[in-house]
Symmetry: C2
Subunit: 383 residues, 2 copies
């Protein structure tokens, strides 16, 4: 199996209001990634998007972004795994290079979500539930995450204070990220004063609805030689779970995340103790906590503690959301999985400026589709 | 690069009215394919669908079908390339096996299209155009194919009689396919009497809106040993074109099909003269003709002739739509690319009964997304 390297990255600023359409967003990110990599010969483009068909009426998005980026004619396919769509595109890119089929591919995530009103968007996000068992019966991503929070609070006897530090940390880190949608700090009082939108879930527990696109150029050993030092993808894995929350044996165990991590550790020969930073799927604070448990950073019932001890901060033991995460950098859903890798790349290449995690050599990113129905994990290492 | 083999296939009957939902359709096809292959250990499931989100409100479809088919936990991702989505899932499966990442994967295409009224479906299909330049301005798949027909008729001085034989051949072959949606022959008079739905395009030039799912099990050399003889995938390629018809230099040259075929011939070391049967993307008769030209079976302007000479019939030089094709077996769009490979597999394994192409050893399948914005080609060989 051939090695896969990240040769360059690009992103548009995450926004709550853009004049660009989804094609232009994707095209801009791809062009920037190609410029960053200094490459012009591309074999394929894989694009992740959740809402291109529903909101922008555009399918075949990968072919259209290829055309926009001057790559017309290349292999181009779109991957969908709801909010993990972008990470799915990266996964597909890894496969193509590992296979020896392609030497240079671009993986892009693009989302234009702010076209509809908030209620319609919330409703559309319910497509990422088990529709027959949940969405159709009025459940949505907010209500399901609220249920997870309640379960966690009841089982482990914690209060809202368990969740608050994750929101604060994300906002602290986004202040100095020029591409973040939120560039302001929040304080504990802001968290507690933020409206409860699905008890006990507060607005500040949730990532915002956004527009944006991110792209990375992946290359084989053959083309990597021009790029040293660089970042190698040590693991690219996908796990899935029973979809409906009510059908899971233990809803507080994110099985998709657990299996995806186990596969990633096996593939890389690494363990959680080797990870210098973790770009978690912090779309909801409860998911961050459960991710920390699933990845082995904390025991079950203790995933909230790294928030309280400060271990998740840039100078902590396991920094997360280092550029603001989904919570504050922003969550254009199908693009977030690629943004995470862009952020990790900047960290590993010592390009994170004020957000730099000192000495970071190994990063893990993890993206969820729905309530961790699908989990896609990547481990990256500075070579 | 590792070889990829087809170890088993499954399909639901194509239908214009089903009580099943898209998950159940996909699940049934996957279960049948697994039974056919006699395998239980599956590493990943890739699913192609165009309309799962729009019509069934279900994203993450691959994870849900995995769950339904008893594969919960495996890697599962959905691929979208409009009407070529299913072929995209097969492409992804090939990459995973070629990479050495997985040994057994299932590729499935699933579509439930008959949920909406005809006008809404037609409108949704326009998502497979260049929306900004075409769909938004009232163009749709029918109007664009009609324009291609007009261009072809004007340039080469042919009449409707150039198109008619392709519809007749498809219906002739579907009569004996128990899974076909249409199991009746049509005559020339039926073709000429069928209503013009977008001049000069008649209803019988177009494939019907359908429901259905198909699946194939792909395996590496390591697991293939139990299965001899079997079918090897000699080529799996994707080409793309400038999306809007009006932006193409020569709309009658399907560049995506041409590059996809060229890549497939190069990958396999074969040429069009080696192909014993061709499952073309006969969603519209004009596309079939242009496909024959793009694949090298006919010179430009002569692709209609194999229809007139009978070369496309089961006993002809280049049989097409051997089980009825998209036109008469049916066209559940995101599933069709997999149905084509199921049909080709039956032919190569001598399992096509009354539809058998005698001595068939090498088959080519080709699936289009939109007006050949994306073309995905597979070449299969009996080993």
């Amino acid at each position: 199996m051939r090695d896969v390297f990240v040769l360059g990255v690009g992103q548009t600023p995450v926004s709550e209001q853009t004049d660009s359409n989804i094609r232009d967003l994707g095209t801009a990110a791809v062009r920037e990634a190609l410029k960053d990599a200094g490459l012009i010969e591309v074999d394929a483009l894989y694009v992740g998007s959740m809402f291109s068909a529903l909101f922008s009426r555009q399918q075949l998005l990968a072919a259209l972004i290829a055309q926009g980026a001057g790559l017309a004619g290349v292999e181009a396919l779109t991957v969908e795994a709801a909010c993990a769509s972008g990470a799915g595109a990266v996964r597909m890119g890894c496969l193509a290079i590992q296979a020896g089929v392609h030497d240079v591919i671009v993986a892009c995530g693009a989302e234009h979500m702010t076209l509809l009103d908030k209620e319609s968007t919330k409703s559309a996000l319910a497509n990422a539930t088990d529709w027959n068992m949940e969405g159709r019966n009025g459940e949505n991503i907010l209500s399901l995450n609220a249920r997870l929070m309640t379960l966690y609070m009841e089982k482990y006897g914690v209060t809202s204070s368990a969740f608050c530090p994750f929101a604060l940390n994300a906002h602290d880190n986004s202040v100095t990220n020029a591409n973040a949608v939120f560039r302001h700090q929040i304080r504990e009082a802001d968290y507690y004063n933020s409206p409860v939108i699905a008890g006990p879930l507060r607005r500040l527990d949730a990532a915002p609805v956004c527009d944006g696109a991110a792209a990375i150029v992946l290359g084989s050993e053959r083309v990597k030689s021009r790029h040293a030092p660089t970042v190698r993808i040590r693991a690219s894995t996908v796990g899935t779970d029973v979809a409906a929350l009510g059908s899971r044996q233990d809803p507080l165990r994110l099985e998709a995340a657990i299996s995806s991590c186990e596969r990633a550790y096996r593939q890389s020969g690494l363990s959680h103790t080797d990870i210098d930073l973790f770009e978690a799927h912090d779309a909801f604070t409860i998911l961050t906590i459960l991710s920390l448990e699933a990845a082995g950073f904390s025991e079950a019932g203790h995933g909230f503690e790294p928030g309280q001890t400060g271990a998740i901060r840039l100078d902590g033991q396991i920094p997360i959301s280092t550029m603001g995460g989904l919570k504050a950098r922003g969550h254009p859903v199908g693009a977030s999985g690629v943004y995470q890798i862009v952020d990790a790349y900047h960290q590993l290449m010592d390009r994170a400026a004020e957000n730099q995690v000192e000495g970071a050599r190994i990063a893990m990113t993890q993206s969820f589709g729905g309530l961790a129905i699908t989990a896609i994990t990547h481990i990256l290492e500075r070579t």
